[in-house]
């Protein structure tokens, strides 16, 4: 019955009942009895029209919704649309990626043609929030959205890397350049007192909780990524929201013309910054002298110079010695014509030492290639849409033997069953496999400091192992027949079925059921090899395999009621349930004693050595609701509430409540504003929020119950040991956050400014507390004290040139500062309720005090070490210095070239109390800057990020400079700068073999500033002219050239400055050059 576009459907009855939605074990829970009810539909009017861009080109896939309503349609291939509205007095809202959101009042017209302005201001963007979407104009909480330009050009093996420096208040640290390695993401400093680097946010991809973060996501599948930061926005995720929430939406089909896109990227990578080590010649020279210097206090060491060591002359040409250092004899003279070098023995210049210099640290690295293919097809009608994307990426790492491969699918479709019922289905699948380094330490700084005098190959041209597996020849232990074999395979599948039922205008129900399954398997096999260096071949042939499976069910139902009253009051109310169940099952086995190297799998192992298995469950159930209200978009109010329960909490604290409230005021919508400022000069919103949310991350599934560990044996009998202290009082960690901020736009929003100040107090921190050793336990997991994080965040976006300019240039920068302070610790009868710490001279109180550790008013992570004030120029100077009790030989004499340590307490004795504060591992400032310049079809995108305030303990340098492992090659920097002879004025002490308690003890010179500015990406992109590509019927062909991780400006002398605290060997961040082409048909 159609009449002038007016549909009159009459009345319809509907009966609906759902029962037994969730059947859990034997209990029947979450009964969902929606009793029969009735409703009637209303008279409706159709509005039609078309949408185009500023050049008049039709835009397909534009979403059109009625203002205040939730129902939407999309434009078709010709940019045409048709939407039914309740009446012609309201407005329509047009949204499309890459365009400004536009709102058009119908004014009684039933046909409208709309032109969308491109590139919306930051202040007009639409952000996804918990269980919904909101325009930033109406947003009252703190949410940052990723600029998708960050995702487009680099072949990310882990998309978390794309976030570095991109979101204010989100600290993203890429600590490993290994392909596939996840970056650390910490929102607003995290809420952890014992492991601030472990305070990962909650990740939600298409509504599904993902414990693994973004590891399984192909960057090309991401439609949008936003981070909810304050408690009011995360309260709706209740128990798990306090470390922030990362919400990812993947690409879906849009109604309109079907499009195919194929893209290919080829990346060449070279190793990033690699530490330079001393030459073999310098090593022999100074290690022999340094051994003599050490022998002054322990004469036995002298024999090292004649043994078969790195600089000892006891080596020969047989396979029985690992090094090439030896005296020249008629028998070995021929080696000099085979690339060996010679030098006079510094201990006896009448003798000649010959050696071969192999740069083992260079052997670790390689130039590598990454290839990426992505194919996607998407399209649909106003009844159904689909999207199918396939991605493949294969990447070789810049450390030999490391590899990564990923195959990903993103399939989804949606169909409108009735005019008011939409059903959608979604499948995300990833299969990735990788070969990674078994130990970063063994390869990246121990192996790297294998003295260059080590044999690369024996005389029979078989490979030589170096010193041993833990400081060995990289080619022996990573490549070829002796290398550890193995592979890790991970498969992740997410299946989602959801829908939307517009029950009556304004009221809708959106259920979603999902299954996420992750399987991972790996095996390892060590062939027979010289694992312990020259000598006996180790034929243990250790072999292991493991399998784990995570199954996660999730069910959510959200009921939304939206209503506009008299065009002034806009109200949206949501209520929902969420149920989450995760099961982990894993098994592993190990064996040894295979007769052959030919079978790397467990079946060949003659002797089983270990088995292990685990089944573990976690369940979380919650009820939530939100009310959003605004009056004429001037006064904004939002209330959030969640009630959550989790199975892993202590029996007395299973459930908790998490409310949030936020409000905002768009001053520029007031009449008085127009009188104060010319129109569009300045827009200004102030907003504030307060909320309480929780955190249970880090809490084991059954931690509260305590645990006795099994699996060990005594005299072949099974043993049970205490391991985890039970704690029935374990409860949520509770964060209370106040956030105030403003969003300002200048010059018609060509400049946008978003600022936030927050104070988050986290009480009942879920923390591992060190216990007195005499308790029999080292730690207990408990709720402990409170931590306060305060910070500022700002993001500025500037469109430097006017919209009319042919050249467009926009600049974005963001900065965030966070400071943490421990507010309260449980009373334990100690000053400031301190736990741990070091006993040192405190200059502040001019007395001895326990500093560091955890104490009220203090910070987490403060590091203390000795302070180098200089180097004694001569022996005569040295004897005048204070007694150094840290030198633990009986003879504590100091000589010229020895370190001068600051005598902080001025008692003329150097002891542990003379340590000083040398830094903190956690950065204070993080942020980034990006610039986008375009002219016609050409564009240039540059982004950089920076971190300030973190300190890194350069342990790899200590290991090398202190020869912590017998024969270890010092860094070139050490040799270049060290004191060498009486009278030298130097800032680096002399070379004494293995002088770790003397000159190379932990001290301020090895606690280096980790501040850096990284040129993360430069992309030059070009779109081929349309006339040219229309011949191949393509609608778009883009070419780009991208350099990524191009340069770090940093004073840190180690390989990667991104990670504060002790550097335990970092895979250098590779420098990449990518060429990519993207063709759209």
């Amino acid at each position: 019955m159609e009449n002038n576009g007016v549909k009159n459907r009459g009345t319809r009855f509907l009966f609906f009942q759902v029962s037994k939605i969730f059947l859990i074990r034997k209990e029947l829970c979450f009964f969902l009895f929606i009793q029969p009810f009735f409703f009637s539909a209303f008279a409706q009017t159709a509005v039609t029209g078309s949408v185009s861009d500023s050049k008049g080109t039709a835009i397909s896939g534009v979403t059109i919704t009625t203002k205040g309503g939730t129902k939407g349609v999309n434009t078709d291939a010709k940019g045409q649309f048709s939407i039914t509205v309740a009446d012609l007095k309201g407005s329509l809202v047009f949204t499309h990626v890459g365009f400004k959101v536009q709102e058009i009042a119908l004014g009684n017209k039933n046909e409208i043609n709309v032109m969308l302005d491109e590139d919306p201001s930051k202040l007009d963007e639409v952000v996804v929030i918990g269980y919904g979407k909101q325009s930033r104009e109406l947003l009252t909480t703190s949410v940052s959205k990723l600029d998708t330009k960050n995702l487009e050009n680099v072949s990310y093996t882990n998309v978390s890397q794309a976030l570095q420096g991109a979101l204010p208040g989100v600290r993203v640290q890429t600590t490993s350049g290994e392909p596939g390695a996840a970056s650390r993401v910490i929102v607003r400093g995290g809420t952890s007192i014992n492991n601030p680097n472990g305070a990962a946010p909650l990740y939600i991809v298409d509504g599904v909780f993902k414990d693994g973060g973004l590891t399984d996501i192909n960057a090309n599948d991401i439609e949008s990524l936003q981070v909810l930061k304050d408690a009011a926005s995360t309260a709706i995720y209740g128990a798990r929201g306090s470390n922030g929430v990362v919400i990812v939406t993947t690409k879906s089909g849009r109604s309109g013309r079907t499009s195919f896109t194929y893209s290919y990227g080829l990346t060449g990578s070279k190793p990033g910054k690699v530490v330079e080590y001393a030459s073999a010649r310098d090593y022999i020279q100074y290690n022999r002298l340094g051994t003599v210097a050490a022998a002054v206090k322990n004469a036995a060491l002298l024999s090292r110079n004649t043994q078969a060591g790195g600089s000892g002359t006891g080596n020969n040409l047989t396979n029985a010695t690992a090094y090439t250092t030896m005296y020249l004899t008629p028998d070995n003279q021929f080696k000099l014509s085979q690339g060996w070098e010679s030098m006079p023995d510094p201990l006896d210049p009448t003798k000649t030492i010959i050696f071969k210099d192999t740069k083992f640290s260079d052997l670790i690295y390689q130039n590598a290639l990454t290839q990426e293919h992505n194919f996607s097809a998407s399209g649909g009608t106003d009844k159904a849409t689909f999207n199918a994307a396939l991605g493949y990426l294969a990447s070789d790492g810049t450390v030999i033997s490391t590899k990564y491969k990923r195959l990903s699918f993103n399939l989804n479709g949606s169909i409108k069953l009735r005019s008011n019922i939409v059903i959608n289905g979604r499948l995300l699948y990833t299969n990735r496999s990788n070969s990674s380094l078994a130990s970063y330490a063994n390869i990246l700084y121990r192996g790297a400091s294998l003295p260059g005098t080590a044999k690369y190959a024996f005389e029979d041209s078989t490979l030589a192992p170096g010193q041993s597996q833990s400081i060995g020849n990289p080619d022996y232990f990573l490549k070829g027949q002796y290398a550890l074999q193995g592979n890790t395979n991970v498969e992740g599948t997410t299946m989602v079925v959801g829908g939307r039922w517009d029950i009556i205008p304004g009221l809708s129900f959106e259920p979603q059921i999902s299954l996420f399954r992750a399987n991972s398997d790996l095996y390892r096999f060590q062939p027979a090899a010289l694992l312990n260096g020259v000598g006996a071949v180790v034929t243990t042939r250790a072999s292991s395999a493991s399998y784990s499976k995570t199954t996660q069910y999730q069910a959510d139902g959200v009921l939304t009621y939206a209503k506009s009253i008299a065009d002034n009051h806009h109200l949206e109310v949501k209520a929902g349930i969420s149920y989450y169940s995760k099961n982990l099952m894993s098994q592993s086995a190990a064996g040894q004693g295979a007769a052959t190297d030919n079978i790397p799998t467990l079946n060949a192992a003659a002797q089983p050595t270990a088995v292990s298995g685990q089944i573990s469950d976690l369940r979380i159930a919650g009820l939530f609701s939100r009310i959003d209200y605004d009056y004429k978009e001037k006064y904004l109010l939002s209330l959030n509430y969640r009630y959550d329960g989790a199975s892993n909490l202590g029996s007395s604290n299973k459930f908790g409540s998490f409310p949030g409230i936020s409000a905002g005021w768009n001053l520029h919508k007031e009449k008085f504003w127009d009188q104060l400022f010319p129109r569009n000069l300045l827009t200004f919103k102030i907003r504030g929020s307060y909320g309480i949310n929780g955190n249970i991350s880090g809490l084991g599934d059954f931690q509260a119950l305590g645990n006795y560990s099994v699996g060990s044996q005594y005299s072949s009998n099974a043993a049970v040991l205490t391991s985890v202290l039970p704690n029935a009082d374990l409860s949520w960690e509770k964060s209370k956050t106040i956030d105030v901020g403003f969003d300002a736009g200048l010059f018609d929003r060509r400049v946008s400014f978003i600022f936030d100040y927050y104070r988050r107090t986290t009480d009942d921190l879920l923390t591992t507390v060190s216990l007195p050793a005499s308790s029999g336990y080292s730690t207990v997991f408990t709720n402990l004290g409170s931590l306060e994080n305060t910070g500022y965040e700002m993001a500025v976006d500037v469109k430097i040139l006017p919209p009319s300019s042919k050249v467009q240039w926009s600049l974005s920068l963001n900065a965030a500062k966070v400071e943490s302070q421990i507010q309260k610790l449980p009373a334990n009868g100690v000053d400031k309720n301190r736990i741990g710490g070091v006993y040192v001279w405190d200059p502040a109180t001019a007395g001895y005090a326990w500093l560091g550790g955890l104490q009220e008013g203090g910070r987490v992570g403060d590091m203390y070490a000795y302070k180098l004030t200089g180097v004694y120029a001569t022996d005569a100077d040295a004897v005048k210095g204070p007694v150094d009790n840290i030198v633990n030989t009986a003879n504590k004499t100091k000589y010229g070239g020895d370190a001068m340590w600051a005598d902080i307490d001025k008692n003329n004795i150097i002891d542990s109390r003379d340590q000083v504060y040398v830094g903190n591992p956690y950065p204070k400032w993080t942020g980034g800057i990006s610039s986008y310049l375009s002219y016609k079809d050409l564009s240039l995108f540059v982004r950089a990020d920076y971190t300030v305030g973190a300190t890194v303990y350069n342990y790899p340098a200590v290991f090398a400079d202190g020869q912590l492992q017998g024969d270890a090659l010092p860094t070139k920097r050490f040799i270049d700068n060290m004191w060498k002879k009486q009278g030298d004025i130097a800032n680096t002490p002399r070379y004494v073999w293995q002088n770790q308690t003397g000159n190379i003890r932990p001290n301020n010179t090895y606690y280096e500033k980790g501040d850096f500015l990284a040129i993360r990406e430069i992309t030059l992109a070009y779109s081929l002219p349309k006339p040219l590509i229309s011949k191949i019927r393509a609608s778009n062909v883009n070419l780009n050239l991208t350099g990524s991780n191009l340069h770090y400006f940093t004073a840190y002398t180690g390989q990667v400055p991104d990670d504060g605290g002790q550097d335990n060997g970092h895979y250098p961040i590779p420098v990449n050059l990518t060429f990519a082409i993207r063709v759209t048909f």
Binding site: L32, F39, Q467, S468, R541, Y714, S715, A773, G776, R834
Partner: protein, 492 residues
């Protein structure tokens, strides 16, 4: 429109019906405090766990506490892994790297057994008593080690089962209180052992083991804590009790330590080390690894060395010090078991490595330093008996000569003849050195005989600093145990 609001409220109310059972799950793969301590097998598992904890202490700490400071050891070819502070006696509150963590873990496990096992139904009373006896003996042993090391320590006789920030901290008791507990535990343990038999492997406490420990305890309190004659008599009686069990001296000294001869008749109580089951123990620091493997040595020497160790497991960190080595006569069969001297082809001494006491076993090209750590063996008990007899004015010749006869065979000139009390003590102490070097006893011995400042070179200059006889507790422990005060003298 009001209607839809009503629907919304009605629907959302109905949606939000949940029951708390929806989030209840039971652990599958875990033993929790709620599910453990129900059956005999639980008790036996926990008993084995207690020995695993004791073994963790035996890996290194029993040696460090019991011998490392007595200067039987010296640096070898490699670095020191921080152990030099012990043989150089350059300890302080900051560098002290040995603490009571492992001993208290062992005590906690004993305390759990003592709390829960009495309530478990166990097939025979004998086996229940046997378990309880072993827990008492273990606790006594651990406190005895601590009392000798640190003096008075916090006394914990109840297991730790929860966390309360205030009550979890405990101050130190006096050394008398600790030794009183040790004796009381032994008095409870010994009668609880159902028989005087050894368990297979001789790596768990038995009546004989408890009696050996008792002899050790009473000699200590007799000599150092004014126990006097009564204590020596108790010690003597305890050694006689040990002799009633199935123990004997093995004819061949090396056989006592052989990896393939664990649990032999000389062993009274040893902590079991086994490939695939335990770490390498202290002897791993008395061998050679790739970076410290002498090259200019004869093939015969190489053959003795055999497979070297891997990484630090087999590093040349310590060797028996020259002044100690020099006290072994060439004919002493204990010499080769204690150390082996590596000479260069030009006959220069390069270093020494452990002998049979610590060479472990070689499997698939890997050397495992997994000799059992002897807590008590028969020769030790014989010498304790000699010591008790001498303290009581009796002739210790029988025991001394049993030990010497095995060491020197029929070689003349080694027969012990009763002399003055002081001379006898000197002879007994020296015999203990030759018999037990590198077995983790020497520091206790020189302490007990009151000869630290006389016999330990690095302590001679410290004469008068009696506080040095105890170990410092150290800042690492004290930063976590604020109620624990440092041993006077060590405090900075």
């Amino acid at each position: 429109m009001k209607k839809s609001l009503i629907y919304f409220i009605m629907l959302s109310t109905l949606l939000q019906v949940s029951c708390k059972k929806s989030i209840e799950v039971e652990p599958t793969s875990l033993l929790t405090s709620g599910t453990f301590w129900k059956s005999e097998s639980d008790a036996i598992g926990a008993l084995n766990g207690m020995y695993v904890s004791l073994r963790t202490v035996a890996v290194q700490n029993l040696f460090i506490l019991g011998e490392a400071r007595a200067q039987t050891m010296a640096q070898a070819l490699a670095g020191t892994v921080g152990l030099d502070i012990f043989y150089l006696n350059s300890l302080d509150v900051d560098n002290i790297s040995v603490n009571w963590t492992g001993l208290y873990k062992t005590i906690d496990e004993a305390n759990l057994i003592l709390k829960y096992v009495p309530n478990i139904t166990i097939t025979t009373a004998g086996s229940k008593n046997n378990i309880l006896a072993q827990a008492y003996t273990t606790r006594a042993y651990a406190y005895f080690v601590m009392a000798r090391s640190w003096g008075g320590v916090p006394l914990r006789t109840e297991p730790t089962e929860g966390y309360d920030p205030m009550s979890i901290q405990i101050a130190r008791s006096t050394v008398d209180e600790v030794m009183a507990l040790v004796k009381a535990d032994l008095e409870k343990a010994i009668p609880l052992y159902p028989t005087n038999n050894f368990a297979t492997g001789r790596n768990t406490w038995t009546k004989a083991g408890a009696n050996a420990l008792k002899a050790d305890v009473f000699l200590w309190t007799g000599k150092l804590m004014k126990g006097g004659t009564a204590d020596f008599q108790a010690a003597l009686a305890a050694t006689e009790e040990v002799q009633k069990a199935d123990v004997s001296l093995l004819p061949n000294f090396n056989d006592i330590f052989s990896y393939d001869n664990k649990g032999n008749k000389e062993v009274i109580m040893a902590s079991r080390f086994q490939v695939l089951e335990s770490d390498n123990n202290i002897y791993q620091y008395m061998y050679l690894n790739a970076s410290n493997n002498p090259s200019n040595i004869t093939q015969a020497t190489k053959d003795v060395i055999g497979v070297i160790g891997s990484g630090n497991a087999g590093n040349s960190i310590m060797q028996v010090a020259a002044p100690i080595r020099n006290q072994f006569m060439a004919s002493d069969k204990r010499r080769a078991a204690t150390f082996y001297e590596i000479f260069s082809t030009t006959n220069v001494l390069i270093t020494t490595i452990t002998g049979a006491k610590g060479t472990g076993t070689v499997q698939a090209g890997v050397r495992h330093f997994k000799n059992d750590i002897m807590l008590y063996r028969y020769a030790d008990v014989l010498l304790m008996k000699a010591e008790a007899k001498n303290a009581l004015g009796m002739d210790p010749a029988t025991e001394m000569n049993l030990v010497r006869a095995r060491a020197y065979g029929s070689e003349p000139g080694h027969t012990f003849v009763n002399g003055s009390k002081a001379d006898n003590d000197n002879a007994i102490l020296r015999e203990r050195l030759l018999e037990l070097t590198s077995e983790g006893k020497r520091w206790w011995d020189v302490r007990r005989f009151g000869k630290v400042f006389e016999l330990v070179p690095s302590m001679q200059a410290n004469a008068g600093k009696d506080y040095m006889l105890l170990f410092p507790i150290g800042n690492a422990i004290r930063s976590l145990e604020p109620k624990v005060v440092e041993n006077p003298g060590w405090a900075p």
